[in-house]
């Protein structure tokens, strides 16, 4: 780290020697830095852009800049908002659990409801597709497109993709008393 310091000193001497430097006394430098906010307000008032809200924002902006040297304001605000969100989320989760509610996520609730709905159907079929995928559900409409109610909702399957349909929960038909066999759809 010794060499770069020498380099900077050399460069500064060069700038001084060739009159590129524009130094001012220490107290003036301090005054310049401390008058930044005051003069900004003066400029904004002159152009008619100053308002109470702007004043409040400027106060926060300069206060944060002064307090959090090294942390840009945007990052500071984002960090703060993240911290608030995480804290409030955690507090909400803990308070919900402690209140004894049997909390379930909406997705779990939805699946449970779909399964319950599925239980209302007389038939639950196992549909095997040509690509090897097996789907369990109640066929609610047939034709070129099969509509199947599954635990995750109603899905539509093109007829030509279905290899076989096999009933899983077979109820005996009142007339024959025989279970319904698996029927290859393609036939």
């Amino acid at each position: 780290m010794k060499k770069p310091v020498n380099d900077t000193q050399l460069l500064e001497q060069l700038l001084d020697r060739y009159k590129f430097a524009r130094p001012v006394p220490d107290d003036i430098r301090e005054e310049i830095l401390s008058s930044k906010k005051k003069n900004l307000v003066r400029i904004l008032k002159s152009v008619g852009a100053f308002s109470a809200l702007y004043g409040a924002l400027l106060f926060i902006y300069f206060a944060l800049k002064k307090l959090g040297a090294g942390i840009p304001v945007a990052k500071f605000i984002i960090s703060g908002m993240t911290a608030v969100a995480v804290t409030s989320g955690g507090y909400y989760a803990v308070s919900t659990l402690r209140s004894g509610d049997n909390y379930k996520t909406p997705v779990v609730e939805e699946r449970r409801a779909a399964k319950e709905n599925l239980a209302d159907y007389k038939w639950v079929d196992q549909i095997t597709l040509y690509n090897g995928r097996i789907i369990e559900g109640a066929i609610i409409s047939r034709g070129a497109q099969y509509q199947v109610r599954t635990a995750s909702g109603i899905i539509s399957i093109p007829r030509n993709k279905i290899k076989t349909v096999k009933p899983l929960k077979v109820r005996t038909e009142p007339e024959t008393g025989r279970p319904k066999p698996a029927v290859p759809i393609t036939q």
């Binding site: 770069p4 050399l10 590129f20 430097a21 130094p23 430098r29 830095l33 090294g70």
Partner: protein, 177 residues
């Protein structure tokens, strides 16, 4: 957003360039009240013409020179000739400092070469420390970085400028001092 885009960008530009501009004005007029008045005029004009400005730095420096000359022209009892025109214009091609005009041009080109700065922040940092003699702490506080970051960035810029000078044939800086 609570502020318009213009207001946000103006505040950022002001925040970046204010110390450099006011410092340069003070260096010439040697009076803080006058310097603040001129600086005020520069930034008010900048706000009004904000949408037309493409390069804030060049525009502000140009406006600063114009406002300083206007200030002396308007001021009663002040002789415009008392202002050092060469220094005020800061034109290295016209200035002749101790017979080293060519060297000044090379140094000026090295300082002004945007390739020596990674971003505008580095350029402002260099101006504050090398040209205006601000301390690392003052420059770091102004630019919202740590002292360590400011020192590191300043050293990097200085090295790039010295390399630029070496490429132009100035291999030993000591010979020029």
């Amino acid at each position: 957003m609570l502020l318009s885009k213009k207001e946000r960008e103006f505040r950022k530009s002001y925040s970046d360039y204010y110390p450099m501009i006011l410092n340069s004005i003070y260096y010439r007029v040697k009076n803080m009240e006058d310097a603040e008045d001129i600086c005020h005029e520069v930034f008010v004009t900048y706000y009004r013409k904000f949408d037309e400005v493409r390069d804030p730095r060049s525009w502000l420096i140009g406006a600063m020179k114009f406002c300083i000359s206007n200030f002396y022209r308007k001021r009663e009892g002040s002789c415009p000739a008392s202002v050092d025109i060469a220094d005020m214009e800061d034109d290295v091609h016209l200035a002749f400092e101790n017979g080293f005009r060519d060297i000044r041009i090379i140094i000026h080109d090295a300082i002004e070469d945007t390739g020596n700065y990674q971003d505008e922040k580095e350029r402002i940092l260099f101006d504050l420390i090398a040209v205006n003699h601000y301390t690392y702490d003052q420059a770091a506080e102004h630019l919202g970085m740590t002292r360590r970051q400011a020192a590191y960035k300043y050293q990097q810029v200085s090295r790039r400028i010295l390399d630029h000078l070496k490429e132009r044939g100035i291999t030993k800086i000591e010979d020029l001092l």
